[in-house]
Amino acid sequence: MRLNRMLAAGCAVTTIVGLAACSSTSSSSSSSSSSSSGAGSSSSPAASSNLVVETSFVLKTVDPARMFEPTGLMIDHVLYDTLLTYKGSDVSTPVPDLATSYTSSADAKTYTFTLRPGVKFANGDPVTAADVVFSLMRTKNINGNPSFLMAGITATAPNPSTVVLTSSTPNTAIPAILTNPALGIVDQAKVVAAGGSDAANAATADKAEASLNMTSEGSGPYTLTSFSTTTQVVLTANPNYWGPKPAYHEIVIRNVEASVQKLDVLKGESQIAVDLSPTQAQGMTGVQIVNGASPNLFFVLTNDNPKVSKVSSNPMFQQAVRDGINYASLVQLAGKGAVQAAGIIPTMFLGSLPAGSGATYDLAKAKAELAASGVGHPTLSLVYPSDIQVNGISFGDLAARVQQDLQQVGINVQLQGQSIQVALASYRGGQEAMGLWYWGPDFPDPADYLNFLPGALVGLRAGWVKGADPALEAMGVTAASTTQSSTRETLYQQIQRSMNSSGPFMPLIQPAQILVGATSVKNLQSNALWLVDLSELG
């Protein structure tokens, strides 16, 4: 009967599907169905040798000289050593890594580093000052994303165990800058053999990226086993590492959506989820949740350029916006661990303002200021990137709240979400009447935030031109050339207080940076620069 054929076909299909679904659990887990059971070590891969980390990849390359993305930072931090580094979650004071000590000249233009003796690359070659100079100059001359870190800085090696950095202008941020994995030290001999170059024309002459994306040439606790920008990156422990042996022999970093990360860590398919937002993390049981503030800062800008908008450049209007945003509700939206930004410098850096120093929400005052401004009940558009998320927060959500708040003040905000590509163009061109953006620090030092001053990179994006606030600009110049920590702290705080009382920037929140991990993972700490130090885990 033809029924038989159909039945046969149906049975075949069901069998295949059934077999596939029920088939052996081999080396990885397919664990219990209860959603509240945590990632117990019994169901995860042998916890002492394999670790699965899941993150939503922002990754282009692991060639340090070209790498400047969050996932790349996390990976390169354990593949390559830098002169200085940070331990755990403390990003206020750099500690020795490849350099055991350093001295700086009084004018902050010359830094001398003494290298640690006896360090070898993973392939056995010794690490010398020549390798350090090569790596730093290569990053500078390739003109990739991280090259600006070495802007105005030259490296030389007077002898095999000393490196001298000379900066054309006083640069107090150099110790902080050197911790960046993009300035990781590579093996000169091997990289040159693969087509690498640190010459002035390295931008076109260097061809080593493909090779470095297959084999890492570093001295860090891990080496690169396989690399893909879309699926996963696999790292293996470096048996010749000069420091303490890492706990995990193999680390697999998988590219997975945040919401799936949550399910995976609950079911034990992975041990660490990096991108969960506080809302996603709340209520999770059976796992450890490490909740720290992220160094990313969300802010609103109102364009100070009257040619772009007469409304947004009106000082009283700017005040009305500053006082008309309900910061507490934004913090609540961002979830547990988020804080209102007291100023543009995030809490974990030197020079940040104490909590509570930020703008206060005062609806009545905002309305009065709007009335005093003379712009009536204006309508203007707020541009923001609609297709990216930072620390699990989507710009659209924040923008919707801001819109709601300003509606009550009497300002009609039209949301203009655009794809990052398009939005960046108007942002960088300083053409937005209002914008909602974020700043991720280039390096963990307050000097990075001088970019917000009039005439500087971000200031110009808000139409804040040189000469708009001479007193503030003078403070900026002094801060840039002061080396003494306590004086710097006071100066940067003064700068922020001035920006909090007037100006086109309204800092909103610092979101939380959540790490969710299996209970079997020890010493899980969140780091503002490279998210998590994979080699420090236990």
Binding site: M1, R2, R5, M6, A9, G10, A12, V13, I16, V17, A20, A21, C22, S23, S24, S26, S27, S28, S30, S31, S32, S33, S35, P45, N50, V52, K60, T61, F68, N143, G144, N145, S147, F148, S226, S228, T230, T231, Q232, V252, R254, N255, V256, E257, V260, L263, L266, K267, E269, S270, D387, S419, I420, Q421, V422, L424, A425, R428, D442, L457
Partner: protein
């Protein structure tokens, strides 16, 4: 798509050269049309992506470099963005002839390399889905046609109608939650388990590669990971194929020659399979071709949820980031698939229905 004539032509006269000459001419003709179509598609993709107000340099250069005019100029020069637009298109076509699809602005790799990585993943998914759809869809359609107007027919009709009405991205969400999270029956995304390395490379389809090299653990793992996304994708196609099969078969079953076959005393299953299904296959194959295209479309919506590194995700990211070379590459790939499928469909027509072959 070619138009299949549904009326029988007059008795064909014998021609010099025989069948093969016709076949050759047919293939050449299709090749020509195919090439024109490919060029047309690149033109459309090119025009569409140049309508955009954004500047690719902006998003791809990073925060600092964009402020440096030299870096911007270098980027634009490297990707040929500083030439006048029509010239860019000509350059693109020239490169195409040499097999160079340009360099993707997101991944900094040749687009061809990107496609080589992503296409097999999507093809594997689509093939699995289409095989399942064909088996299930045609079977259900046959059952519905045979039991016409009785309860199996009604049930199948409603179910298949439901299948084509479901938004595939919603089904993906529900299926993922239910089968992975709540029930734990199937793995939660990716093509393999995290600690497994892909099988020795042959085609890029993990199941095929693993089977060919005898790596059975990998084979089962790849299969397990395929099941959920493929089934989700297949739902719409199953619905479509069921309805189509049923309709075609019912239409044919009303014909006189079918009644004649029954009256001759042939057993029912012979009547159904040889006299009804075979002619219906013409239409069904057409739809299957269309269905494959739909599956590709579905991958755009579904790959993200299943962390499936395929062309769907690549297409989406390229479109949103205005990665022009990548968009062109994806468009070409899609057009190529379309042309190949249509060719296969037309050739299959010839095999199944001699009237068409000779017309």
């Amino acid at each position: 798509m070619s138009s299949a004539s549904t009326t029988a032509p007059a008795v064909p006269r014998p021609r010099p050269g025989g069948r093969h000459r016709d076949l050759r001419r047919f293939l050449l003709g299709r090749l020509g049309t195919g090439l024109v179509l490919l060029v047309g598609i690149t033109l459309v993709a090119f025009v569409v992506t140049h309508l955009v107000p954004g500047d690719p340099a902006a998003a791809n250069l990073g925060q600092r470099a964009i402020g440096d005019p030299a870096a911007v100029a270098a980027f634009r020069h490297q990707y040929g963005l500083d030439k006048p637009v029509p010239l860019q298109y000509v350059v693109y076509l020239k490169n195409l002839l040499h097999g160079n699809l340009g360099i993707s602005e997101q991944s900094h790799r040749p687009v061809l390399a990107d496609l080589e990585e992503y296409v097999p993943a999507t093809i594997e998914l689509a093939l699995f889905a289409i095989v399942v759809s064909l088996v299930v869809g045609i079977s259900l359609g046959i059952v519905a046609a045979v039991f016409h107007d009785r309860w199996p027919d009604h049930v199948i009709r409603v179910v298949s109608l439901g299948g084509v009405s479901m938004p595939v991205f919603w089904v993906a969400l529900v299926a993922f939650y239910l089968f992975f999270f709540k029930l734990g029956w199937l793995p939660g995304g990716g093509r393999l388990d995290p600690t497994q390395n892909p099988p020795t490379h042959l085609t890029g389809l993990y199941t095929v590669d693993a089977a060919v090299h005898g790596q059975w653990t990998l084979f089962w793992s790849a299969l397990r990971h395929l099941v959920l996304p493929a089934l989700v994708l297949a739902i719409f196609t199953v619905g479509m194929l069921t309805r189509f099969t049923r309709a075609s078969m019912l239409e044919i079953m009303g014909n006189d020659y079918v009644r004649a076959a029954r009256l001759k005393g042939l057993p029912e299953h012979v009547v159904v399979l040889r006299h009804v299904l075979r002619p219906a296959l013409v239409a069904i194959i057409t739809v299957a071709g269309v269905a494959f295209g739909n599956l590709l479309a579905g991958t755009v919506l579904v790959e993200n949820i299943f962390s499936w590194p395929g062309v769907g995700q690549y297409a989406y990211h390229s479109a949103v980031n205005l990665d022009l070379p990548a968009i062109m590459g994806v468009s070409l790939f899609v057009a190529l698939v379309y042309i190949v499928i249509n060719l296969a469909v037309d050739l299959l027509y010839g095999v199944i229905d001699p009237r068409i072959r000779l017309s």
